[in-house]
């Protein structure tokens, strides 16, 4: 440690150099009175030297009283150790703005702050403990990180989306069903899975063409979205004309009601289907499986059970809901 030669004497160019630093600098004496402020800080605070220098910091910035900055400043001055205040945990402690922009609260610069108290021996030779507050503007970094995160979220969303129906795809289902099962076990709440299939969809495509088939799938998907719309519901296209709903906090009985609402909604679309043996409109079959949080069943068991129930619904003449625990005719 060699404190004295660093502090004395000041070269003649030092104040010029300090005035050109692109960071804010404040030096406080041991009574938190401002003894020095640099040009960058004044410009970004919109203040004149005489409004800041020789004034207590908390008089210049009364909004800092009882703030976290005050707490950590006091702690740093008491312990004599430097302190970091991150932008993430304290976005904008000082009211600083980009010069020239309209001064509103949402335009505060994002700040990364370092509080550096003069340490033991140097404090003795200076007669008291001065503290340097250094403020860097990290607004641009924050904007950049936010953009990157938004991009990543968007790409992730796209990777899990079925292009035709805008429902989730198989990948989303494979990711979210095990999570839903785990959370059902953890909180001891029910979970249900419904598997839907459009009745005689191959004949529909053969008769009306694939474009009409795509349109039909999109309309059915919309009904499914409208019925299963709680935030944690997941609806996905399992493959071809098979659609799946994963319904957390839903008992088997409630899931049957939702499945019937979907079937009814699709019937009400009244999409003509001349080659269906089930009705004159497009209809669905559905299989419902309920998860028992006390069982050791896996997500694959649950999908398998829903699939078997769906098979039973088809076997019994389609356009109906069957359950994995016994059939309930529509």
């Amino acid at each position: 440690m060699n404190p004295l030669p660093d502090l004395n004497p000041c070269p003649i160019w030092s104040s010029w150099a300090l005035a050109h630093l692109p960071v804010g600098l404040l030096v406080l004496d041991s009574q938190t009175r401002v003894v020095f402020v640099n040009k960058w800080f004044l410009q970004h605070a919109g203040l004149m030297t005489e409004q800041v220098v020789n004034k207590p910091l908390f008089e210049v910035f009364p909004q800092l009283t009882d703030s976290k900055l005050e707490f950590f400043l006091n702690q740093s001055m008491t312990l004599g150790f430097p302190t970091v205040l991150s932008q993430t945990l304290h976005p904008s402690p000082f009211p600083l703005y980009q010069p020239g922009v309209q001064r509103t609260q949402d335009k505060f610069l994002r700040q990364s702050i370092r509080i550096i108290p003069v340490s033991g021996e140097a404090a003795l030779s200076l007669g008291q403990r001065y503290t340097l507050i250094q403020i860097s503007d990290v607004t641009q970094s924050v904007i950049r990180e936010r953009l990157l995160k938004a991009q990543a979220d968007k790409l992730k969303g796209m990777a899990n989306l079925d292009v035709l129906t805008s429902l989730g795809n198989r990948r989303l289902l494979d990711e979210s069903l095990p999570l839903a099962v785990r959370s059902a076990v953890k909180i001891g709440r029910p979970l249900s899975v419904i598997m839907f299939d459009i009745d005689f969809f191959k004949q529909f495509n053969d008769n009306y063409g694939h474009l009409a088939g795509d349109d039909c799938l999109q309309q059915v998907a919309q009904v499914l979205r409208d019925v299963c719309r709680r935030p944690h519901d997941v609806v996905a296209r399992f493959g071809g004309e098979e659609l799946v709903a994963v319904l957390p906090e839903t008992s088997g009985k409630d899931a049957v009601q939702l499945a019937e609402a979907v079937l009814k909604g699709v019937q009400n679309l009244k999409i003509p289907h001349a080659d269906s043996a089930a009705a004159v409109w497009v209809t669905l079959s559905a299989g419902v499986a309920a998860f028992d949080p006390c069982s050791a069943a896996t997500s694959a068991d649950l999908v398998g059970a829903a699939d078997r129930a769906l098979y039973a619904a088809k076997h019994q003449g389609r356009n109906r809901v069957c359950t994995a625990w016994g059939s309930t005719p529509t």
């Binding site: 004599g80 150790f81 430097p82 970091v84 991150s86 990364s112 033991g120 970094s141 990180e145």
Partner: protein
């Protein structure tokens, strides 16, 4: 040169006072109750710490480092498995969105959290043992355990290691605080702890 069981027990108590102060500062920051405890203090080799962290499935760790100089010179390194450091930042920020990576901003938040902890622990020790230290600003480092611990030196070198348990709401996080000490510094630590124990008699 090594510290005896009694000396290590004394240090465990001293460090628990320090983390107690850190816990109240972190609670303020998180607007939640943060509890910290130091269940044990040991002199162990870097290799042992590396093994312990690796056995927790943490091949990559996140470290906050600070230098402290004075009667003894030490580099303090606070380490978490990367996944746990993400959870810690998330809890402190109160963010519900799960983080997948430690970006620039998260690393800085971690520097702040580590800074609070290291300052409290070292000042607690300085108070009780009547020592004086100067501290540096924290830096954050990500990498394999061996790289972080062994910038220079051998994996067989012994360090003073504190296991630190964090409890925030329902979540438990375990970290390690390691003090890298040279031989002279271990000597002066031992002398200081002995003097402290003698005063208690």
């Amino acid at each position: 040169m090594n510290l005896t069981e009694i000396e290590l027990d004394a240090l465990t108590e001293v460090f628990n006072v320090g983390v107690g102060q850190a816990a109240s500062a972190l609670s303020q920051l998180a607007n939640a109750t943060v509890r910290l405890s130091v269940p044990k203090v040991e002199m162990i080799s870097k290799q042992n710490i590396s093994n312990e962290l690796t056995s927790q499935g943490a091949d990559r760790i996140c470290a906050v480092r600070q230098d402290f100089t004075g009667v003894l010179n030490t580099e303090a390194v606070l380490m978490f498995p990367v996944q746990q450091s993400l959870q810690l930042v998330q809890l402190m920020v109160g963010d519900e969105v799960p983080l997948e990576q430690l970006g620039e901003m998260e690393q800085e938040a971690l520097a702040e959290i580590g800074n609070i902890l290291l300052n409290s622990v070292v000042s607690g020790m300085a108070d009780v043992l009547k020592m004086q230290f100067d501290g540096s600003l924290p830096t954050v480092e990500l990498g394999p355990v061996a790289d972080v611990l062994c910038g220079n030196g051998q994996m067989q070198e012994k360090v003073l290691s504190l296991q630190i348990d964090f409890a925030i709401d329902a979540l438990q996080i375990q970290g390690f605080l390691v003090f890298l000490l040279d031989v002279e510094s271990i000597d002066s630590l031992k002398t200081t702890v002995r003097a402290f124990l003698k005063d208690l008699e």
